[in-house]
């Protein structure tokens, strides 16, 4: 190989190297630009499901970010949502349909349907969440976003 050719060859593979290097930087950047499936950064609201499937006088516990949230459908159809972790120790609360109260079975703590602690050991009310129904879908969102 002549000196000239060798120089040319070096230039070509140098160009190839530069391209590969550039590509290895562009790859993560282009991937980064594609928005992820979960479009929003914040778990400030979640969809619980269709309203018609949620029976009156029932409740369920759903995951809201890192925290469990209890969503309640009263006999009259009203929807309510509260943090599901009892303020006494860390048990999950449940809805008592007969008395329309929220109850923690661990030490018999009671809350009313405003989340207020009314009897038993709970020292504080349950945090409230906002429930809305949008196009038949129940959506709950945290209060500090309101």
């Amino acid at each position: 190989m002549s000196k000239q050719n060798r120089k040319k060859f070096l230039d070509i593979i140098l160009g190839a190297g530069a391209t590969a290097w550039f590509a290895s930087i562009l790859y993560p950047i282009s991937k980064y630009l594609i928005p992820p499936d979960i479009a929003d950064a914040n778990v400030t609201s979640i969809e619980v499901g269709p309203e018609i499937e949620f029976k009156r006088g029932s409740s369920k516990i759903v995951r809201f970010g890192r925290k469990p949230v209890i969503i309640i459908r009263r006999k009259n159809g009203d929807l309510k949502a509260f943090a599901a972790t009892c303020t006494h120790l860390d048990c999950n609360v449940q809805f008592k349909n007969e008395t329309e109260q929220i109850w923690c079975a661990c030490h018999n703590g009671f809350y009313d349907l405003e989340g207020k602690n009314i009897s038993g050991p709970p020292p504080r009310p349950l945090a409230k969440y906002i429930v809305r129904v949008a196009r038949g879908i129940i959506v709950i969102s945290s209060e500090d976003m309101a």
Partner: protein, 418 residues
Amino acid sequence: MRHFSIFISSIAMSAIIFTTDLPQDACVSCHFEIDQDKDVDERSLTNILDDIHIQKGLGCSDCHGGNPEAFDDEDEAMWDVDSFLGTIERVDQPQVCGVCHSDPIYMRQYSAHIKTDQVGQYWTSQHGVSLKEGNQNVAVCTDCHSVHGIFPVNDPRSSVYALNVPETCNHCHGDSEVMEGSGLSNDQYDKYRISVHGVALLDDMDISAPACNDCHGNHGAIPPSVFSISDICGSCHVNNKDLFKDSHLSDIFLNADLNQCEGCHNYHDILTPTDEDLLWNDKDNCVECHQEIEDVANKMGVKFNNIITELKSKIDLANEKVASAENMGMEVSDLFFDLEEAHKILIQTRTSIHSFNLEHVSETASSGYKSADAAILGAEKAMEEFDFRKTGLLIFSIILTMFAILLYLKIKSLEKNK
């Protein structure tokens, strides 16, 4: 002359009298003069100014009788007055206090929801029954509520405020001389103090934790019997009570005159149960009864323990994996939801043992396995992601190094040309 002396002594008297709510009546002016050389404590008048009765405008004569208007005459003030009681005998205390406290119409003026059944309750208590039988060595009103420094129950200074109740009861119940002849031991406080309830109330200051009165009743103090103990414990430990009531053991305990909860958990020194209590060893409560049919109980307890141990080790593994993924700098905070959930179910599983039903226990535990597995899976995914990062870094570094070497060669060749 007498007027003058009252005047002088009034000035010389402890300043509290003038600056406070104490009614300036005949009782106060004379008794503070007579007793002025004794100090306030000795007259059991500590805190009298803050006493709820004084605060509500009552005076000495409202309990002790007498005529508070009669400033000049001892006889007119006390001895000639029919209602005068002087020092109230212990035996008479329930009646004297009950004059007001058992009168719903009178008491209503202070609070709409005030209770007036204390004296009635008291006569049903062991204290009241013994007092009626002529035993003076029992608690009467002032033993628990103090004499002149009586505060409402929700006042932290009150001797019957939740945090102070154990100490107050122990004043008598811990004193071997007082308890002599009662047939009771005097170690209840010491036992309670180390119990899960005592620690919660007195160390953690959790006033929702039960003090003596929460199990024994307030004025109707009595030890819970075989028939009531599971209801008393169950007023807080609902699930445990319900599960046990539905279990096959419930009737057996009743028929055998065994106290249900107490049978395994003791009383007063109710310690936090451990999973090892389920194993067939000296500490195991089952052993006491199940000596003959060792095999059955053996299987049951050990199986419960196995279920819990398995759940615990799964949770431990999940914790470990999540922690190590976190240490690698991976964002795994979402997994803490599953970890917390698994931990909640572990507690539920321990509770479910009160059903003494293997199926029920393992069913409860199974959702805990699921949560723990979800956390383990998530952590493993995070660690895989970390491996992906490392591989990516390696590829990037190789490309970069090659490019750098080529660049170096290019520079060398440029300089050689020169």
